[in-house]
Symmetry: D2
Subunit: 439 residues, 4 copies
């Protein structure tokens, strides 16, 4: 569990400049809508969590709040900023890029930034040339999905990347990426420290699966499950129109079933939700096959929603030879499709199975307004943190408070659906599927 | 400020029955995704809030958590439930109705509920007959905006309504409505208590303006500001195409400017946001008219977003004779339209003003998936609270925790945009409008 | 009725250059998907229309087909082209601009065009400077509503405009605008002819009301009625939730009720549709007020859709003094609202009237895919016509064939809903409103 | 080519009853919006088509117009009607069902119809029981995708089905289905005739691929290509963000490439469109692989849209052994994916290929407003035809006229994209792909 020491944010040094926003924040006090820069946001939020702790709240685990500071480490108007987007697409990447550039220009007098293209590749000599990002260039990019900077997967050598930052005189690097990219950012931070440079690295965590811990919800997630819910509707409509109709929807979620859970709740129509965090069996009285068969008999059709990381234990048992001779390629969607088909045939029951896999349609769209607001505010927070000389951290919003979280912490574990939490309970209440499908 | 005593929830009596969900929740402990029914959710969340308090967290202000209980006050399968929707439309009303009925049926074995029609009117002899709500009846209603029960404004005599509840044998009444309706619910509670009846009254707070305190965000709000953001886009497109184009968008928000703020942030294109919480002047160097005129000169066009409750002081000065001779009917949208038109004419500047007022288009739609999930979970929470014998309370989700809040508290004040909070700061950062427009 | 002579298209002169598309169209013959440039499209399409005509089809009224020609009047790569958008916004303006620029560049080797800003104003010295339109500039504009060139209403002096065209060396001017703009284009053509210049003027007819004759459906119309249908849904949802609910929707359509008719058919939920082409009474047994009152009594609520130009005779009778003392400002929507309110009060019936007027929300959006395709193909057609040296004409698609129509013809009359046509019949079938509401 | 005799519609007998709509249509004459029931709609529409024909237009190929008749064969109020939906889903099925039921009830006094479930299966003893269709039952079904009657593929024995019709006393059977279903309908007609029964069979042609001839555009097609265009956007966004990005989109279209063409035109972003009607090579200078490789080198990314029926000749060469050992299962999408991957590897070029296959997402949605109107009017037309005693025909709208077409004709051939027509030309103009990709 995180303790106070784990939640400390690294600072490049003492602040050196007055912020153009100083007058703006002067005299503000913590209230329901604001946390003073001198205050901290508690990690815990229940009586039982705090019961028995030492009496001084300052000793309790707590986060540094986000937001503008009265004093800055980097000079307004003169600071050089780089931005890079890494990993898979996620709704909101362009919104974050745009908002960083706009915030720098409007409030810190920094009229342009350097956009590194195609992820960390753009920070190497082999990569594409960077682009100049000005308010004019980014003005409309939020109206498009994807990322105007392009992206790529994988990391690059930290020394090479720091060489490039030094060469271009970059003071602050904003990394928009997932846990892999944050590991890469962490290495850049270490190399920067090793050389004794004053370069800040601020992360904006991106994960369409919502599997990054300590930051509340990740940007783009609401948009993603909203689109995923449409796919469940597609499957339901197809299933209901068919004789013995079964809709099978495979959604993103290698390690965390958030998209599957939220999409199923939004849609109200999934009969079974299968996620990586909760094991299930195919066979047995409570196994998927028997329950699904029963549901189709009772209602004429049924919909199964499965996260791509669910039931991996089932694949280890059967995957190697059945589909492709290669366990790495085992696919729970295909495995379920084949298993259901076989079972219904064995039972002599009619089956019309429709397999829906929305994949890219979920992540390439522009964000819904809710996520658009969140991207904007995250990016504003990131700029404030960078200008104040924070580094080795990401911005997040937890329990409605914008906070700073050390990179080390967000890459230390995964956020996942708690089998005994209220989200999974809501799913069970909604689907009425067996609580334990392994029996 | 709320203290512990204010946050106590009334119980009709000791629980008398095992819950069908008992095994389900047994042994669960508080974690990031769950709060045990024996635990409480802290009201405060920063170090400064708790610094200097008595050391025992049990003495601090805290909320009862929502969720299923191991023991119930009302008998599963035999409890009679009523549902009523009151006041103006809001996205998600049908979702809440549906989820209450489904939760009762699936988990408490209560196969039907009584739907009172057209708000509290339906609880009087003069009102329309109630309808029978079963899973079949409500199955698809979430796919439509509005409320299948109809609604009406205004309260009715509490004695008459309690007579009706008694006549129909209702054990739990779910009231989905705004602060006015919650005042009505409060009177029903008092009358129930006066007669010594065992009828629970549980509120699901509804306010499209998001102006109910202590409950976090209200259902339908995300959908509402998403639609409102579309209207800002409409105004922007019109303004940009015209010579001296000004888009003026009047949005909901009598007392709280949340919709205006969030819609403006989502859209990124408002130049000025005017809300009830922050005064502004028309005249003067920082007044709207001069600033707007300048903005149009610089950029060719501009967009003004105004909440309907903004600038009421301006209307008191000028409204009475100009528009309709009646201060009650003064309309800030019309007033701004006329003032801008006059000012641009005085300055000899071209003006093409487009006035957009989306009104009903924002509130009559079905909820976006994010709100759909929230409605579902709020409704599940409400059912759990009712079955456990709670009364005189509403359900809410604050800082991501489902909680119970006394009705007295939610009608004690309004939730509004803090002029020194981070939301308004984000708006100022985004629009770059003057911090103080009264100078 | 149009005769052959009326349908002749003016040519600037004999073609002088081979088209880069020559090989492409060589050898094509008229078929279901193509009309040869040597063929013509018949105006008439029924046996009765042609019965009794002279036997030679060449003598019958017929249109010149659209499409690429083997030979051109203007030189590929060297021709200078201007584009102007005039009048109110309409979905698809940016699509047409984009497609003209792309077609010129990709197929005629003309890499840029001159964009005149803010309508005909941009063709005068007082107007804004023109912009350079290249494939890069226009690449994404179709993703936005409005027009990147801006627009304005009203015409300008033809001599001044031709001076400007000559000054800039423009060979072909594409005018995207409504009937007023086409009258302006006509004057430019006359002035060009008077001076003996070789400047082609090609119109792309724009009318959100679909009231331009001979061209089939106008671009953006499908998008417009689709949005209008949403407003009818809004009104219906509001009406159904209220006690004595009446939804009143005022839609565009000064002279033609197409938007009202199609939106009502799309929506299936209007109870009464009122259009300029079909008179109706308020009073009397078949008058709107009595019928509406009956409908609300029977069904609990009702929706009235009214085109802004409907019932003008009613306003002439009552408008002058009742609303604003000025007949020009009489507003059928407001008049109906007041009349309905008065009538229900007189009858002692409950009424909750919701007045919805979507206005700009309908016209400022980007086009639906159907209209996007149509805009693209219209623009391609316009470019082919211009390069071939046609002038004083507009492009259209009638009965699925792209055709050329003289400007004189499209401004000679309005296209409107025929009271004895099948569209109005479908509306009557759908609404079951009285066939004659004046009785 | 169709001649007059081919276009004659079968009548069950002389009309026997006055239509309730008689007064409504009396005295109407053919005009731009209406064709009199005594008139006919010409098949041909160009001068060259009619040049040299016998002078009497009555002898030319022409269609019987749709619409209400003054006299009916079947008795209003007493006629029994059946409805069945067959084959794959298509946007608008529920709209057609709803409109048939509403038209029967509102205008012919026939308050209910029999809905046969799961296609022709529902017309056999083995099938599910039929459902009663009343205005109440169908009132909201148009708000949902799919078909409330369910569907199935394949035909059933005509004798068995006619037995069932006789058993239930059905007078008119409306068949909503594709060419296979129309063949089935044809057999029912033959069996009805063999027995000398007076049962009318009216088809409403359904084909999401738009491949049914003589009927203009099929319902749901506009909605389908609109959704397909979204998938192209998805592919484009993914491709543009990647290093060596190629988006590959497989769309419906076994025999006709209409969806691929229209979606590509709507989207403006496809670089290559491959359809069944136009052969292409993978290799060679104009082959897909070289052209695609070039395009990616020039622009950084490219999008390929392929209809599922395209390039089947390529699969015959390579399919049998490569993918699954079974030529029937060869899949052009997978084949292209593999071929592109191999080619880029051979060239040593970076490639990030994203394969998008929207499948069910296109066909399970509710129709866009344009299609909703069309479904409504087609259904009204079908009811009029049935009540007038027509049989063995389908309704359609060709060149904006509602017409009757013999079933024999619509199953005689397929409608497809003409390689020398203007649609394909527009695609070539838009994509700038080689005119002949086999060179």
């Amino acid at each position: 569990m995180a303790e106070l020491a784990d939640l400390r944010i690294t600072r490049l040094g003492e602040p050196r400049y007055d912020s153009p926003l100083a007058a703006f924040v002067a005299g503000r006090r913590t209230n329901e809508h604001y946390v003073s820069e001198d205050d901290r946001v508690l990690y815990h939020d229940t009586v039982s969590d705090l019961d028995g702790r030492a009496p001084d709240p300052h000793s309790w685990p707590s986060f540094e709040p986000g937001g503008p500071r009265r004093r800055l480490f980097f000079a307004p108007t003169r600071t050089k900023v780089g931005i890079v987007t890494c990993g898979g697409l996620c709704p909101g990447l362009n919104d974050v890029i745009r908002a960083i550039v706009m915030e720098l220009a409007l409030h810190y007098g920094i009229g342009e930034a350097t956009g590194f293209r195609n992820g960390y590749l753009g920070l190497t000599p082999a990569g594409p040339d960077p682009v100049r990002l000005t308010p004019e260039v980014v003005h409309h990019i939020n109206q498009h999905g994807g990322t105007m900077l392009g992206t790529s997967r994988g990391s690059q050598d930290a020394e090479v990347m720091v060489d490039r930052l030094v060469e271009l005189g970059i003071d602050i690097l904003f990394v928009i990426g997932g846990d892999g990219s944050m590991r890469g950012a962490s290495k850049v931070v270490a190399e920067v420290a090793r050389r004794g440079l004053e370069i800040a690295v601020i992360g904006v965590p991106k994960t369409i699966d919502n599997d990054i811990p300590f930051i509340g919800q990740s940007f783009g997630f609401v948009t993603a499950f909203s689109r995923a819910a449409q796919s469940i509707s597609v499957a339901m409509v197809e299933a209901q129109a068919a004789v013995g109709g079964v809709g099978l929807v495979k959604l993103m979620g290698r390690h965390s079933g958030f998209i599957a859970c939220y999409a199923a709740l939004a849609n109200h129509e999934a009969d079974f939700v299968l996620i990586p965090e909760v094991p299930f069996a195919l066979d047995g009285p409570n196994g998927l096959l028997n329950c699904l068969h029963q549901r189709v008999k009772e209602r004429g059709s049924a919909v199964v929603v499965v996260a791509e990381g669910a039931g991996q234990d089932l694949l280890e048992l059967s995957g190697a030879t059945d589909e492709s001779g290669n366990a790495r390629f085992a696919d729970i969607g295909v495995h379920l499709r084949d298993s259901i088909t076989r079972y219904f045939a064995e039972q002599g029951s009619a089956l019309t199975l429709k397999y829906v896999e929305p994949s890219y349609a979920i992540r390439s769209v522009r964000p819904d307004p809710h996520d658009a607001v969140y991207c904007l505010r995250l990016a504003q927070s990131a700029v404030h943190a960078g200008m104040a000389g924070r580094t080795d951290m990401v911005v997040g919003r937890r329990h409605n408070r914008f906070i700073h979280v050390p990179i080390s912490l967000v890459i230390s574990e995964r956020y996942s659906v708690a089998p005994d939490g209220d989200l999974w309970m809501a799913v069970l209440e909604q689907t009425a599927q067996p609580v334990d499908m392994t029996l």
